[in-house]
């Protein structure tokens, strides 16, 4: 017992170390890559762009910004102090732009993930209990087809149908501009704007959750303790959710961490399609205007946030499931 818990912590620490190392690697890349740019990159990058024309002062400032060698530790300090440079297109500090957009992205991402996890989980549990029925087969087929549908496509299709053709939902924005609404009306308005991007993301995340829950549930229900529960005459709901489903929950948590980076990218793309004012739209505009400091900050901070999230999950996971300790000994 002593031995097992010691080995378990060792494995855990090495994983946490790996995550911190990859966070450092990201910061280092973001520090190093700009200094590898060829000398006259400013001309090369901006002369071909019809959207941006730099003044001579901005041009020299940009050159100076990317040719200064402050050292890695100074870069780290600046990062912590939220001193991420100035945007060339919007002429404001990058951190200001970032924190303006962040809440919308978080709202979209968190609600989409919760919804997709809940629906996927319940559908997966129900499907596994009705194995080989018509209901299960059609749900699995649906899930497989949806799994092959990238966010770009769902987003575009939903936009075309519900906002252009039917006109039920707004095509852009996160709230009605300049409408001074009461709090409740404002909430409704935000929800109305959120629906389409949220639906695109849920459709993209649902099938993975569903298929995974189903396979792990099928494993779980073949265990003897489920037979015991059935023999005791417990109700179907109780067996499904109190006995079986708990054990099928864990793969879902692991997978969530691994897929988080993809989810963020998916959210960026969907935000752009629905012109939702989050980080994705900011990134998209920054790319169009070749606003390097903004691009760098979004990429770096969102990857650090993803890594922090994975680390938290890794810690939570151990408390959720005592069996993890055994699994790590193999």
């Amino acid at each position: 017992m002593m031995l097992s818990s010691r080995r378990f912590t060792k494995k855990r620490i090495s994983l946490l170390l790996a995550y911190s190392l990859s966070a450092l690697l990201m910061i280092w890349l973001s520090y190093l890559l700009p200094s590898l740019l060829p000398g006259d990159f400013v001309t090369a990058m901006y002369s071909t762009s019809e959207d941006v024309t730099l003044t001579a002062a901005q041009e020299s400032e940009l050159r100076a910004y990317y040719s200064q060698d402050t050292g890695f530790s100074e870069y780290l300090l600046k990062l912590i102090r939220l001193d991420w440079g100035n945007s060339y297109a919007f002429l404001t500090p990058v951190s200001e732009l970032f924190f303006e957009a962040l809440p919308w992205t978080l709202l979209l991402l968190v609600s989409a993930n919760i919804l997709a996890a809940l629906t996927g989980f319940i559908a997966g549990v129900e499907a596994a209990f009705r194995r080989n029925s018509r209901f299960e087969r059609s749900l699995v087929s649906c899930g497989t087809v949806l799994e092959g549908l990238p966010e770009i496509c769902t987003g575009v299709i939903l936009l075309a149908v519900f906002s252009l053709y039917l006109g039920w939902f707004p095509a852009a924005g996160a709230e009605t501009a300049y409408a001074e609404l009461s709090f409740q009306a404002w909430l409704l308005d935000v929800g109305h704007h959120l629906t389409l991007p949220l639906a695109s993301l849920v459709i993209a995340y649902f099938p993975g959750n569903f298929l995974l829950t189903r396979t792990s549930m099928i494993m779980v229900i073949s265990q003897p303790y489920i037979k015991t529960a059935q023999a005791k005459g417990l109700s179907g709901l109780r067996i499904r959710y109190a006995h079986a489903a708990r054990n099928a929950l864990l793969p879902l948590v692991t997978r969530f961490g691994l897929r988080l980076a993809f989810t963020v990218t998916g959210a960026f793309v969907v935000e752009r399609i629905h012109a939702y004012p989050g980080l994705g739209t900011l990134l998209f505009n920054a790319i169009r205007l070749r606003d390097l400091p903004v691009i760098q900050a979004i990429v770096l901070i969102s990857s650090i946030m993803v890594l922090a999230m994975i680390m938290v999950l890794e810690l939570v996971y151990a408390y959720l499931d005592p069996r993890v300790q055994d699994a790590y000994q193999r």
Binding site: L21, G148, I152, L159, S216, M219, Q296, V299
Partner: protein
């Protein structure tokens, strides 16, 4: 055993659908330029004209034939996916076999490196690199491959650890076979099913990422790609041309990703030894 697997594969509707669609896309991208007489980058037609016999999908805003562009875009996306998958498979298999066979410090070093790379959000690195340097797409595919091999090599390593203990490998060791002989003659062919799964999985991921990057405008605008076509068509969605300009790339991209997804899912069901033997224990 093998014959059974083959029969089962042919009977699986998902694999069949995936295979047929894949064949369709492969022919379209190989013989596409023969079907369509126009040059996809030539700007010589009336902009925004609607579909007719000469231009089956009409002409875009800068006077390029959309159908020719679509074929070219499918080819580029497929090529990106295949390149990335091939490179990451080679790296993943080599490292997985080496780590699994030699064990010890080599194993530890490679697997710790894999842990670090697994945590790195690959798409973020790609966004950063392509925003700063605007490299050619195939270079991007190779960079992506350098970041995503760990999942392949972890699966291969776990399976190598099992095969290593099997009687025929032990016998080969007894008879004095060298490390490279065992790795290339015994381990490499034995784990073949895992390569198929790894390859198609990475191919799917790479095509998906290429579409996202192109959609964000990070890949050279002169190169046709599905993501970029969606990006440009979306600007004109308020005109009545979304069904001949916006819809075809959306459909093609969905079908392309679906094709590979079907193949991945059915291959995993049939060939993954972890799913077949001790289904569910995925903590490798």
């Amino acid at each position: 055993m093998h014959i059974n697997a083959k029969k089962k594969m042919l009977r699986d509707p998902w694999l069949l659908t995936g295979g047929i669609l894949f064949f369709f896309f492969a022919t379209a991208s190989i013989f596409g330029s023969a079907i369509c007489p126009h040059d996809p980058s030539a700007m010589e037609f009336t902009p925004l004209s609607s579909p007719c016999a000469v231009h089956p999908l009409g002409v875009n805003d800068c006077g390029q034939d959309i159908f020719a562009g679509l074929i070219c875009a499918v080819r580029n996306t497929v090529l990106f996916g295949l390149t990335c998958a091939a490179v990451s498979l080679c790296i993943g298999v080599l490292i997985g076999l080496t780590a699994g066979w030699f064990g010890g410090i080599i194993d530890m070093l490679f697997m710790r490196l894999a842990d670090v790379l697994l945590a790195v959000p690959a798409i973020m690195v790609l966004i950063l690199i392509s925003a700063l340097f605007q490299p050619p797409p195939l270079t991007l595919a190779v960079i992506l491959a350098l970041l995503i091999w760990p999942t392949i090599s972890k699966a291969i390593r776990a399976q190598t650890l099992i095969v290593r203990e099997s009687p025929h490998v032990r016998a080969a060791v007894q008879m004095g076979a060298g490390n490279s002989y065992i790795i290339f003659r015994h381990l490499l062919p034995e784990l073949f099913p895992l390569y198929l799964i790894g390859f198609s999985g990475k191919c799917r991921m790479a095509m998906f990422m290429e579409a996202s990057l192109a959609f964000m405008g990070l890949i050279d605008p002169g190169r046709k790609s599905l993501g970029m076509m969606i990006h440009y068509a979306l600007k004109y969605y308020y005109l009545d041309i979304w069904w001949n300009w916006l819809l075809p790339p959306v459909l093609c991209l969905s079908l392309l990703i679906m094709t590979v997804t079907f193949i991945v899912i059915s291959l995993e069901k049939m060939l993954d030894p972890r799913l077949r033997e001790n289904f569910g224990e995925s903590s490798a």
